[in-house]
Amino acid sequence: MAKLNINGKVRDVKVEPDTPLLWVIREQVGLTGTKYGCGIAMCGACSVHINGEVRRSCSVPVSTVKPGDRIVTIEGLSPTSSHPVQKAWLAMDVPQCGYCQSGQIMAAVALLAKKPHPSDADIDEAMTNICRCGTYQRIRAAVHLAAGEKGEIIGTDIRGEVKA
C-alpha cells in the first residue's frame, strides 16, 4: 500500500513496494501519458516531476516515494494544454510520432524552472531524452521559444522549380 500525491490528488495504491513508479502511474492510477521506453532510465519517455525535479519514473521504486512528495505527470502540467512549453511545442510542430514527447516536455519544463533563459549548452545538458523520430532540432527551438526567445527552425529553404 502506498499513498501518492499525483497531480495534486492523493491516492492510495495497493502494489508491491518494488514496483516502479512508472507502472504504478500507468497501471494502478491509470494515467498513460507517461510512457515506457526502456525501463532502465536511458530514454526518458517516463519522465515525471517529483517535487519539481525531473525523474525517470521507470527506475523509481514506489516504496521510495514519500506521501508528501508531489508527483506531476504530463496530465498534470496544465488542465488546458496551455503551459508555455506545450504552446511552444505546438507552435514549432515538434512531435512526429509523439511517443517520447511527454517526457521531453517534462524535461523542458524542469529545465526552464531552473534556468528561465537556457543557453544551447544548457539545453544540450538537460535534454537527454531519446527521440527516434529525430525532433531534436525543433525541441531546441521550442525550448528557446518557451523561454520567450525567438524560436527559429533552422534554414528550411523551400524553393520553387529547379531546372532539371
Binding site: 496530465e75 545538458e125 537527454t128 527516434r132 523520430c133 532540432q137 529553404d157 523551400i158
Partner: protein, 757 residues
C-alpha cells in the same frame, strides 16, 4: 482512448477537434486469408472500449463526411506513425474539395470496413514512403468528386446550371443571383447525387495549389502534448489482462518447457502459456506483474543450430560471398573487369555495414479479444490488412468476424509492417476466451526479436586512365536478402534485385545516378539465421554508403574534387545532378571553412526521390596543431563532431514542405544514430545489444544543424519519409575522409579509430 474518444467523435471541430476516433483498419500484407501481397500496412485511430466499427454518418462519398455544422471529416486510410501522411492526405483532399482547412478533422476506416466496401479506400499499408505518392491520385479524385456532387446539389436546389457556381472554403456562390449556401447545408442532398466518372475528373495543376503545397502545421499535434493520445500500449479495456512474452533468445530455437509452479504464488495471478513453438508468455492482472513473473519463470529452450553463430562466423560468410564465383550479375555494361585491369591506376576497397534494430520508442504490443464469434485487435500497425489476415488466421474466424483498430504508432520505421506481434497476441488471447489481453514486449524483447536491417559487405574496384578519368567500375554486394527471408519468389536463385536498391538502371524509383563507360554490379546472396526486414530506407542506406564513399576514394585517387568528379559522370542524370548542385550551392561547397572543419558530399536516389547532402564535421586534432602531419599527440585526436548537414530532395511534388523538412531532420537523426553508434552484434546465436545502454541512440546534444533544401520539379510523385536517410551517413563519412585523409569503410563509427598515425 476509451470513453474520451467517443466524446471526441461527437465534438465539433475545435480544440482537440481534429481527430475523430473511429476504429481503424488496415490492409493486407501477409496475404493469408485475404490473399493480398502488399509489403506493408497502415495505422491509426484510437482504440475505444466500445464499438469501433462505426464511421461517421453523413458521408458525401467514401472520403468525405460533411456535417451540418460545416465540420469536414476526411477519411484517411494510411497509417500515421509520425511521418505526417495524415496531414498531407488531408491537405490534398481539402485542396480538391475546396473546403475550409480550419474545419477539417480526420477519421480512419478499419480494414474490415475497407474490405466490406470492396476496398473503397484502396491500399492501407504504409511503408516504402508510399503513403501519399501511391494514393494521391484516387484520393484527390475522390475529393474532387465530392466537390462536384456538392455543387450539383446546390445547382439543383437553385435550378441553375452548375457551371455558374463557384466555391471557396466550403461556401458555394451563384454570382448572377447573389445567392450562397454552404457545404454543410447541401451535404445530405449531395450524397444522393450520382457520382461523376472518376477518370474524367480533371485535377488541379499542383502549381495552383492553395492548401496542399503549403507548410501547414500538423493536424494531430495537440493530443501528443498533454498525454491524452492513447497509443495501443496505453489501451484500457474492461476485465483486461496483460501479457509479457519471451521468445527463444536464439533465432530459430524452440521452446521445450517451463515450470509454472515457480510463479504460482507471485502477485497478479500470473499464468504461463505456450504461445507457439518458440514463445512463452505470462498473463497477469498488470503488465509489470506479468513481466516480473516471466523473469522468474524457469524456461528450457532448445537453442538449435543458430547457437553456433556469431558476428565472426557471419562476417566470414559474407567474405566468402565477396570472393565467390558464380554470383548474380545484376548490371553488366561493357567489360568492367578488363577495363579496370588495363587501367593506369586501380582503386579498391571493401566496406561493411552491420545489422540494425528499429528500436521504435513504443515497443511492440497488441491487444486482442477473441470470443466465439468475434476477434478484435487493437494494434499499432503499418499494415492493418496484414494484421486483419493474421487475426483471422489465428482466431480461426472468418474475416468478416474480425477487425483491427489502428492506433497512432509510437514509431514504425518498417518494423510494424510485420504482423508477427499481432499473431502472437492473438495466440495468447485465444487461450482466454472473451478476455481482452494486452501483450507488451519489454525493450529487451523488442531489441532482440527484431527483423533487422540486413548485414552486408561490399567490394568495389575502379580503374582510372592517365588523366584521372574513370574507365571501369565494379561493385559486389555480399549480404543477406530481405526477400529471401520472407520466402519471396523475388529472391529466387539469388537474383534479388531489391538488394541493389539505388543501383537500378531503370529510371523512376532508385536509379543509380552515374553513367560509367564499363560497369559491373553483382550481388552475392549470403543469408544468415538472423531475421531481417525493411528498416527505414531499407537497402538504400548501405548501398549509398558503399557507392558514395568509394566515389570519394576514386576522386581522391584521380586528384579531383569530389563534387566535380561526380558531376562528370552525372550528365545523363539531370535530376540527380540538380539536387547535388542545389545542396552544394546552399552549403557553399568550395568556399573556405574555419580551421579544422571539413566537408563531405553524397547523392543518391530512393523511393522515387532524388536526394543529396553536404556535411560539415571536425575531427579533433585534424587541421589544427595536433594534426598527424604536425606530429601532434594521437591521444588528443580523433573526437568527431558533426556540425551541420545540408540535405536536398526533389520529391516531385511537395505536399507540405514543412513536414518534408521535419522528415529530413528526422531521417538525419535516424541515419546518423546508426552511422555513429548502431550495430546489432551476434554472440552464441543471439543479439548482444538488449537496450539503449548498449544500442546507443543519438541525443539532442549530438544533433547537427539541419538545413533542408526542397527543390520540387512538379513532374512526378516521390517519397519523403525515407529517401534522405541514405545520404546522411556517406556525407559525414566523406567529411571525415577529408579531415583525416583516411577513408572510413565500416560502420558504426564508434568502432573506428580516428586518431590517425
Amino acid at each position: 482512448m476509451s470513453t474520451k474518444s467517443v466524446e471526441h467523435t461527437r465534438m465539433p471541430a475545435n480544440a482537440s477537434r481534429r481527430r475523430f476516433l473511429v476504429g481503424s483498419a488496415a490492409i493486407a500484407g501477409g496475404g493469408l486469408a485475404i490473399g493480398l501481397q502488399l509489403p506493408f500496412g497502415i495505422e491509426t485511430a484510437h482504440a475505444q472500449a466500445t464499438p469501433y466499427s462505426v464511421l461517421s454518418d453523413g458521408e458525401v462519398n467514401a472520403w468525405v463526411v460533411i456535417r451540418p455544422d460545416e465540420t469536414v471529416i476526411i477519411r484517411i486510410a494510411r497509417s500515421e506513425m509520425g511521418q505526417g501522411t495524415l496531414t498531407g492526405l488531408a491537405q490534398l483532399v481539402t485542396e480538391e474539395l475546396e473546403c475550409d482547412w480550419k474545419k477539417v478533422a480526420t477519421e480512419m476506416p478499419t480494414p474490415a470496413q475497407n474490405l466490406a466496401r470492396k476496398r473503397a479506400w484502396g491500399e492501407m499499408g504504409t511503408g516504402g514512403s508510399r503513403g501519399i505518392r501511391t494514393s494521391e491520385d484516387y484520393v484527390r479524385r475522390g475529393a474532387a468528386a465530392a466537390r462536384m456532387m456538392l455543387l450539383q446539389a446546390a445547382a439543383h436546389d437553385w435550378n441553375v446550371p452548375v457551371g455558374e457556381l463557384t466555391v471557396s472554403d466550403g461556401v458555394i456562390r451563384h454570382a448572377a443571383s447573389g445567392r450562397s449556401t454552404t457545404y454543410g447545408k447541401v451535404a445530405q442532398a449531395a450524397s444522393k447525387v450520382t457520382p461523376p466518372e472518376l477518370k474524367s475528373i480533371k485535377l488541379k495543376d499542383p502549381r495552383t495549389w492553395k492548401v496542399a503545397g503549403k507548410p501547414l502545421r500538423r493536424l494531430d499535434t495537440e493530443e501528443k502534448l498533454n498525454g491524452s493520445l492513447v497509443y495501443a500500449v496505453d489501451l484500457k479495456l474492461r476485465n483486461m489482462k496483460c501479457a509479457a512474452v519471451r521468445q527463444c533468445p536464439v533465432f530459430g530455437g524452440k521452446l521445450v518447457s517451463y515450470d509454472e509452479s515457480k510463479i504460482a504464488r507471485m502477485p497478479g495471478k500470473p499464468k504461463a502459456v505456450r504461445v507457439d513453438d518458440h514463445t512463452v508468455a505470462v498473463v497477469a492482472d498488470t503488465w509489470w506483474r506479468a513481466k516480473k513473473a516471466l523473469e522468474a519463470l524457469p524456461v528450457v529452450w532448445d537453442e538449435g543450430a543458430g547457437a553456433s553463430q556469431s558476428s565472426a562466423t557471419i562476417a566470414a560468410h559474407l567474405d566468402e560471398g565477396l570472393a565467390a564465383a558464380n554470383v548474380f550479375q545484376y548490371r553488366v555494361e561493357g567489360d568492367a573487369l578488363k577495363a579496370i585491369d588495363g587501367a593506369a591506376k586501380q582503386v579498391e576497397a571493401v566496406y561493411s555495414t552491420p545489422f540494425l534494430a528499429h528500436a521504435t520508442m513504443e515497443p511492440m504490443n497488441c491487444t486482442v479479444r477473441i470470443t466465439a464469434d468475434r476477434a478484435e485487435a487493437w494494434a499499432p500497425t503499418q499494415n492493418a490488412e496484414a494484421a486483419l489476415a493474421a487475426l483471422a488466421e489465428t482466431s480461426g474466424l472468418p474475416l468478416d468476424k474480425c477487425d483491427v483498430y489502428k492506433h497512432t504508432l509510437g514509431g514504425g520505421f518498417g518494423r510494424r509492417g510485420s504482423a508477427d506481434y499481432v499473431r502472437q497476441a492473438a495466440r495468447i488471447a485465444k487461450q482466454f476466451p472473451g478476455v481482452p489481453v494486452k501483450m507488451i514486449w519489454s525493450r529487451e524483447e523488442d531489441m532482440s526479436q527484431d527483423f533487422y536491417r540486413p548485414i552486408s559487405k561490399c567490394r568495389l574496384r575502379a580503374g582510372l586512365d592517365e588523366k584521372g578519368n574513370l574507365v571501369g567500375f565494379h561493385l559486389r554486394v555480399s549480404g543477406q536478402s530481405i526477400n529471401a527471408f520472407n520466402n519471396s519468389p523475388l529472391a529466387k536463385d539469388g537474383r534479388d534485385e531489391r538488394q541493389m536498391q539505388g543501383y537500378y538502371k531503370a529510371a523512376g524509383d532508385a536509379q543509380f545516378g552515374y553513367t560509367f563507360p564499363n560497369l559491373l554490379m553483382e550481388y552475392a546472396m549470403r543469408n544468415t539465421h538472423v531475421p531481417v526486414g525493411p528498416w527505414r530506407g531499407v537497402n538504400t542506406n548501405q548501398n549509398a554508403v558503399y557507392a558514395e564513399c568509394f566515389m570519394d576514394e576514386v576522386a581522391k585517387a584521380a586528384g579531383r574534387d569530389p563534387l566535380e568528379f561526380r558531376r562528370a559522370y552525372m550528365q545523363n542524370h539531370p535530376k540527380h545532378l540538380a539536387v547535388l548542385d542545389a545542396v552544394a550551392e546552399k552549403a557553399q561547397w568550395g568556399k573556405p571553412l574555419p580551421a579544422g572543419v571539413y566537408r563531405g558530399i553524397a547523392q543518391f536516389m530512393g523511393y522515387g526521390s532524388y536526394v543529396a547532402a553536404v556535411a560539415e564535421v571536425s575531427v579533433s586534432g585534424y587541421g589544427t596543431a595536433n594534426d598527424p602531419a604536425s606530429g601532434g599527440r594521437a591521444a588528443d585526436r580523433g573526437e568527431l563532431k558533426v556540425h551541420r548537414l545540408v540535405l536536398g530532395t526533389n520529391c516531385g511534388h511537395a505536399v507540405n514542405p514543412q513536414q518534408i523538412a521535419a522528415q529530413i531532420e528526422g531521417s538525419v537523426a535516424y541515419g546518423l544514430s546508426a552511422a555513429l553508434f548502431g550495430e546489432i552484434t551476434i554472440d552464441k546465436g543471439r543479439p548482444v545489444e538488449q537496450n539503449f545502454h548498449n544500442y546507443r541512440i543519438m541525443r539532442l546534444a549530438e544533433m547537427p544543424k539541419i538545413e533542408s533544401v526542397i527543390v520540387p520539379t512538379y513532374d512526378f510523385w516521390g517519397g519523403v519519409g525515407e529517401p534522405t536517410i541514405c545520404v546522411a551517413a556517406p556525407a559525414v563519412m566523406n567529411a571525415i575522409f577529408a579531415a583525416t585523409g583516411k577513408p572510413v569503410r565500416s560502420l558504426p563509427l564508434k568502432n573506428v579509430d580516428l586518431r590517425g598515425a
